[in-house]
């Protein structure tokens, strides 16, 4: 029951990130989503007696819930990024697209036969939905900052998929992802600083002028 609740929070957070316009709120949504995934990790580790997964959960809490949101808020403050999100697609269309992602992944992942052997496989369609929504967010936001948020959302989806399929047996893999994520946050921070310096904006559309 608690597992389903957490999964619902993950899904809802992903979907809300599509329709919410304030960046600050987006960061909180990301933190909430990460916390829910950490919860899932703990629950699964108890259910299937895989203590390693608890380590993963702890990592998520530490990194995604605390450190990365803090980093993001600092970027937001330092670069004085406008708090409103600038979208290429209207909010209504985004919301519909989010539902479309959910439908697609349930339709595709649900019937895969080999998954029947994996108990926590019910999480997989949600994980794929989160990845798809993250990708969609990345593609439809104008600001480089909100694109970073989209990519972070995708990484969360990958985490969730890892938990669903391996119950933490892929600890090494997840550690790899965690390291990756941290590097991503740092690189994007540097990148945004450099972009702000060069173009005086974090609007990714200016990159068009670099076309070869």
């Amino acid at each position: 029951m608690a597992l389903e609740l957490c999964a619902a929070v993950v899904l809802l957070a992903a979907w809300l990130s599509l329709v919410h316009r304030r960046l600050e709120a987006q960061i909180y949504l990301y933190a909430t989503q990460s916390a829910a995934i950490a919860g899932i990790a703990f629950l699964v580790s108890i259910l299937y007696a895989t203590p390693l997964l608890a380590v993963t959960g702890g990592l998520i809490v530490g990194l995604n819930v605390v450190v990365i949101p803090w980093l993001l808020r600092r970027i937001l403050r330092d670069l004085r990024i406008p708090p409103e999100i600038n979208m290429l697609v209207s909010v209504r269309m985004s919301a519909l697209a989010g539902l479309g992602c959910l439908l697609l992944s349930v339709a595709v992942i649900g019937p895969l036969t080999p998954l029947a052997e994996i108990p926590a496989a019910g999480l997989l369609p949600i994980a794929v939905t989160v990845v798809l929504i993250g990708l969609f967010t990345t593609a439809t936001r104008r600001k480089a900052f909100s694109q970073v948020l989209g990519i972070l959302g995708m990484e969360n989806g990958v985490f969730l998929a890892g938990i669903a399929l391996t119950y933490g047996l892929g600890l090494l893999l997840e550690l790899g992802i965690a390291a990756n994520l941290f590097v991503l946050a740092i690189v994007s921070r540097l990148f945004l600083h450099r972009m702000k310096d060069t173009f005086d904006t974090v609007d990714a559309d200016v990159l068009r002028s670099l076309e070869g």
Partner: protein, 698 residues
């Protein structure tokens, strides 16, 4: 032959030696000559172990099969299964690789030390890696293992080709090589995937038993893709264009290894996929190979005649010899489709023997050329000449190679070409008129190619080594190649002579391969056959005796030479008198009065002008005076030949690709959102495809 060790141990020792070669080459500075020597020594050791393993497989019945684990375990896609195993075919090519590679490694010790000035240790490291990857290709038992090793081999050889990458032509040759190899790998991938899907397995051994059940269309596609892919690697016309660019650009020991061994891996691929897996096919398969082989032989040798770049000349001769090998393969396929396995065995014996032979003498020739090019600093034959006095060892080795490649007895080239003629003439026993006509043409083509090859090597040897130096660089050559280089060449030359004189001693190496691929082995031959004859199988009379007695010929030749020498010593009453040479009343004869390579090639350029479309430039520099044209000071004469295949075939193709790329380039809007949208679209389409067109994997 009893081996004290298991084949696995030999294999591991071989790989360990090669790996040590790779690592020692990388340790220390790239320009460390000592590290290069250590690394080449490891290559020599590895090659010796390889040859020992091959002999164990071929003569001692050794076999092994190793399955390597893939990360992800057995639940991973069965397409990714990796295994390495031995069979007579892999043993045969492993022997070629071990022996020729070993001789080249020995020669490299001295060659790289003296003639390679850039990063010798790096070169040695890649060299060892190249040898190891080729061994793995030959031993691969599954599709994935094969492709992995194949790609590694291609990439490593690319780095060897562009070793002296400061020159623009070298980089360009490397690019041509890489692009052609890439296309070839794609074709090979297509053929192997078609086979894997059709048979449901990726192991070559299992495929061979199941491939008969494939539909004729799939079999034809597999055959064509394999011929294109492996033919490109082998340098078969019309896929050969990389070869005359890449071989001259590489350092000469690498050219020797590529020409002597690597292009043979293409032949190996055809044997593996077409002969072993597909087996008997329709007769047009064989006729296609026969036609492509004949075309390669003629195109290769005609182009070689027009070259003045010594290494490019040798490279075109590789095309010619690959053509001869493919003619043998084609003949074997035709005979198999006609149900005549004895003739097929004979044709295949000719082809694989020529594969080994060409490996021996082409490596020898490239090493010789490398020594001369290294000593004179030029590849242009018009600037060589007279080198025989300073480099007698190299000249002797080159002469042996030149005679062998020209199919002159008592060297090995004669044996394999003679066997091929025998196979062609055997076609008259099949009773099919179209086959008889085709093989008559094939025999004539082979005769023409052999004759032209001899013509060409008179030029290659004569202009390079004989007469007076044609340039100051050639005149300054003062010492023979290093001892190890002459040693490596002596190994190869000795093998050329041995196979040429007592070929029957070496036939045991081929027995297993022939039996496996054609169903017929060598006809029984007496233990003394080596002294008298080669077996000549004829339908109806399996033990029809030999037609030529190499051993006796050799003994007679030796006796004759000794007798002539003896008579000369005894009969020489008065000592020979030495007098100045008659110089037609001119001043002392100079190099400018010599026969040039261009001059030598002129008659052929005229006779085959339809092929060459020669463009001649001649320029007179006038001295002036009352009657122009009488007092000419200098005359320059230059001939260029066209390469219509490149100009009208490959260049338009490349242009087409570029314009297509520009059109596709419009997708590249520069907007990051567009790129991300492409990603989403791809992902969604893939997911939908998975949903509606079934899953992948188990």
């Amino acid at each position: 032959m009893i081996y004290p060790t298991a084949p696995e141990a030999l294999l591991e020792a071989m790989l360990a030696a090669m790996l040590s070669g790779v690592i020692t080459g990388l340790l220390g500075r790239a320009d460390s000559r000592r590290m290069a020597r250590v690394s080449f020594a490891f290559s020599v050791l590895g090659c010796a172990l390889m040859a020992a393993l091959a002999l164990g497989i071929l003569l001692d019945g050794m076999s092994f099969s190793l399955a390597a684990g893939v990360p992800g375990g057995t639940s991973a896609s069965p397409l990714l299964a990796v295994s390495f195993s031995s069979d007579p075919l892999s043993g045969l090519f492993l022997f070629l690789l071990g022996f020729v590679g070993g001789a080249i490694s020995v020669a490299s010790l001295g060659y790289v030390d003296r003639y390679v000035h850039e990063r010798p240790a790096t070169l040695a490291s890649f060299f060892a890696l190249f040898l190891a990857t080729m061994a793995l290709v030959v031993l691969a038992g599954t599709v994935f293992a094969f492709l992995l090793a194949w790609e590694a081999m291609t990439l490593v050889s690319y780095f060897l080709v562009v070793h002296e990458h400061s020159a623009w032509e070298v980089r360009r040759a490397g690019l041509t090589y890489l692009v052609m190899s890439h296309a070839a790998a794609a074709a090979i991938l297509v053929s192997m995937i078609l086979l894997s899907i059709g048979t449901g397995t990726t192991s070559f051994a299992q495929m061979a038993t199941l491939a008969g059940g494939l539909s004729p269309l799939v079999r034809d596609c597999v055959f064509l893709a394999a011929v294109i892919g492996f033919g490109t690697k082998a340098g078969l016309v019309p896929f050969h264009i990389w070869l005359p660019e890449a071989h001259p650009s590489a350092p000469s020991n690498v050219s020797a290894l590529m020409s002597g061994v690597m292009i043979k891996i293409g032949v190996f691929g055809v044997l593996r996929i077409v002969f072993q897996v597909l087996g008997v096919g329709p007769d047009w398969w064989g006729f296609l190979l026969l036609a492509l082989g004949g075309l390669s032989a003629i195109v290769g040798v005609l182009n070689a005649i027009a070259q003045h770049d010594l290494k490019r000349l040798l490279a075109f001769h590789s095309v010619e010899n690959i053509g001869i090998i493919f003619m043998g393969l084609g003949a074997a396929l035709v005979f198999l489709s006609l149900g005549s396995s004895v003739l097929a065995a004979l044709a295949l014996l000719a082809a694989v023997l020529h594969t080994l032979n060409h490996g021996l003498f082409k490596a020898l020739l490239f090493l010789g050329a490398g020594a001369v090019v290294g000593a004179t600093g030029t590849r242009d034959m018009e600037k060589m000449g007279g080198v025989v006095r300073a480099m007698p060892g190299v000249a002797l080795g080159f002469l042996v190679g030149a005679m062998a490649i020209s199919a002159l007895p008592p060297f090995n080239g004669f044996v394999s070409e003679w066997l091929l003629f025998q196979a062609f003439f055997g076609a008259f026993a099949t009773g099919s008129l179209s086959t008889e006509i085709a093989f008559t043409v094939a025999a004539a083509t082979l005769a023409l190619a052999s004759g032209l090859a001899a013509y060409c090597f008179v030029k290659a040897f004569g202009v390079t080594f004989l007469a007076r130096p044609r340039s100051s660089a050639a005149a300054e050559v003062s010492e023979d190649a290093p001892g190890s280089m002459r040693g490596g060449m002596a190994l190869l030359a000795g093998a050329c002579l041995a196979i040429g004189v007592v070929p029957s001693l070496f036939l045991g190496l081929f027995e297993g391969t022939l039996r496996e691929l054609t169903g017929a082995g060598l006809p029984s031959y007496s233990p003394w056959a080596w002294l008298s004859s080669l077996p000549r199988p004829a339908p109806g009379s399996p033990d029809a005796g030999g037609t030529i007695a190499f051993g006796i010929v050799a003994v007679l030749l030796a006796v004759g030479i000794v007798a002539a020498w003896g008579f000369r010593r005894i009969g020489a009453k008065a000592p020979a008198e030495s007098v100045p040479m008659w110089d037609c009343g001119m001043d002392a004869p100079s190099a400018r009065m010599e026969y040039t390579a261009s001059g030598y090639a002129q008659p052929m350029l005229r006779v085959f002008s339809a092929f060459y479309r020669p463009q001649q430039h001649s320029a007179l520099t006038e001295l002036g005076g009352a009657r122009p044209g009488v007092l000419a000071k200098t005359q320059e004469f230059e001939t260029e030949v066209e390469y219509p295949l490149v100009e009208r075939g490959y260049n338009p193709l490349a242009d087409g690709f570029f314009s297509l790329a520009r059109r596709v380039g419009r997708l590249q809007s520069g907007g990051i959102h567009a790129y991300l949208a492409y990603m989403i679209l791809t992902l969604v389409v893939l997911l939908i495809a998975v949903r509606f067109f079934g899953g992948v994997g188990p």
